[in-house]
């Protein structure tokens, strides 16, 4: 049995996902669809709890009644966009190529040996920091994937 919040008479049909419940809330459904959903939700505490949460959140946000979260929490979430793997990997290759070029030049142009070597070190550091970022992102995505695989046996709407 799913969570037995309140009722002893829980339904056994699969729960609609959050997007379907949001459509119900928005009224974007045919009468037939609405009735099917109501038949399920009227005997499903999990769906009723979702409906309550959605309605309350909409109201509280509109009223400005939800407290803003801390900057560090928001920045962490915003930071996800900075770790876009594709673009990052490309940029890291550019830094790597520039590092190699500067290093090679330092030997082929002895006159500017020190300058090119210094440039190679700086570009190399750029490359390392860029690839570190990628590594962190890949590790966190892997953790996420493992986490989601564990969810395989969960009903579809839960994932």
């Amino acid at each position: 049995m799913k969570e037995s919040i309140g009722s002893l008479h829980e339904v056994k049909t699969a729960c609609p996902d959050e997007a379907t419940l949001a459509e119900y809330a928005g009224g974007a459904m045919t009468q037939w669809q609405r009735e099917r959903l109501e038949e399920h939700a009227s005997a499903c505490a999990a769906c009723l709890e979702n409906i309550r949460a959605a309605q309350t959140a909409e109201r509280m946000l509109a009223e400005g009644a939800l407290a803003d979260t801390g900057e560090s929490l928001k920045n962490k979430a915003k930071g996800l966009a900075k770790m876009d793997t594709g673009k990052r990997r490309f940029r890291s290759y550019i830094w790597l190529a520039a590092t190699i070029a500067a290093f090679t030049l330092s030997f082929t142009v002895p006159k500017y040996f020190a300058q090119f070597l210094a440039a190679a070190v700086i570009l190399g550091l750029k490359w390392v920091s860029e690839s570190e970022g990628i590594r962190t992102l890949i590790v966190s995505m892997d953790a996420k994937r493992r986490h989601e695989e564990e969810h395989e046996e969960m009903p579809k709407w839960r994932r």
Partner: protein, 208 residues
């Protein structure tokens, strides 16, 4: 950009992986996600820390950004409600799957079934005559829930939803009316009738 006026644009921007849209999205909806996580964990009686809430918050935003979860949302005008559901369910999943903890309590609010002289509303559980330590407490609660189901007999699904959202989930009449898209006085009439019916049943069974 006011996200409340243009949720469509904002969400499409995030799906296109536009960073400025994402910043606005996080700025607007972080509080919804945060609230919904805490709300759900409290409602299910979990013992949770601020760190748990922060972890789940980040997990939800990872799913939205990296796993393209936003593409599932079709009703863009209800983005906040959708996010609250996604975050609430993610919170339960986190405890059930990652921390391997089932909800300690089942929810049973039975709000405002009974009012004391000073106008305070009590939950049915608080009003039931025995102490929480009585061995047949659970049986007694189950019986009360059976009576509620019996009191809902003859109601259509929408009416049942209205009564349960009020008695079990503690929603106010106006909110139920908004959620179910029915006039508030219809909701009030349905709930009043069901409550009267339930009270009679509970008294007959000597549960109240």
């Amino acid at each position: 950009m006011d996200p409340n006026e243009h949720p469509e644009e904002l969400i499409q921007g995030c799906i296109r992986k536009d960073r400025r849209s994402w910043d606005v999205f996080v700025e607007t909806y972080s509080r919804v996600v945060y609230w919904a996580i805490r709300d759900r964990l409290k409602r299910y009686g979990y013992d949770f820390s601020e760190e748990d809430v922060n972890d789940i918050h980040q997990d939800v935003f990872i799913a939205l950004w990296a796993s393209d979860r936003l593409k599932q949302l079709r009703e863009h005008g209800k983005a906040a409600g959708w996010l609250a559901m996604v975050a609430g369910n993610a919170a339960i999943d986190h405890f059930r799957k990652v921390k391997r903890q089932s909800p300690p309590n089942s929810i049973s609010i039975y709000e405002e079934i009974y009012r004391t002289g000073d106008g305070e509303s009590r939950t049915l559980e608080e009003v039931l005559p025995s102490g929480a330590d009585r061995p047949d407490r659970q049986a007694q609660l189950n019986e009360a829930r059976e009576e509620l189901e019996a009191a809902l007999d003859g109601l259509n699904p929408k009416e049942r939803m209205a009564v349960k959202l009020n008695l079990l989930h503690g929603m106010k009449h106006a909110e139920i009316a908004a959620a179910l898209k029915v006039p508030v006085n219809t909701v009030s009439t349905t709930i009043a009738r069901a409550k009267k019916n339930l009270k009679e049943k509970l008294e007959k069974k000597r549960l109240l």
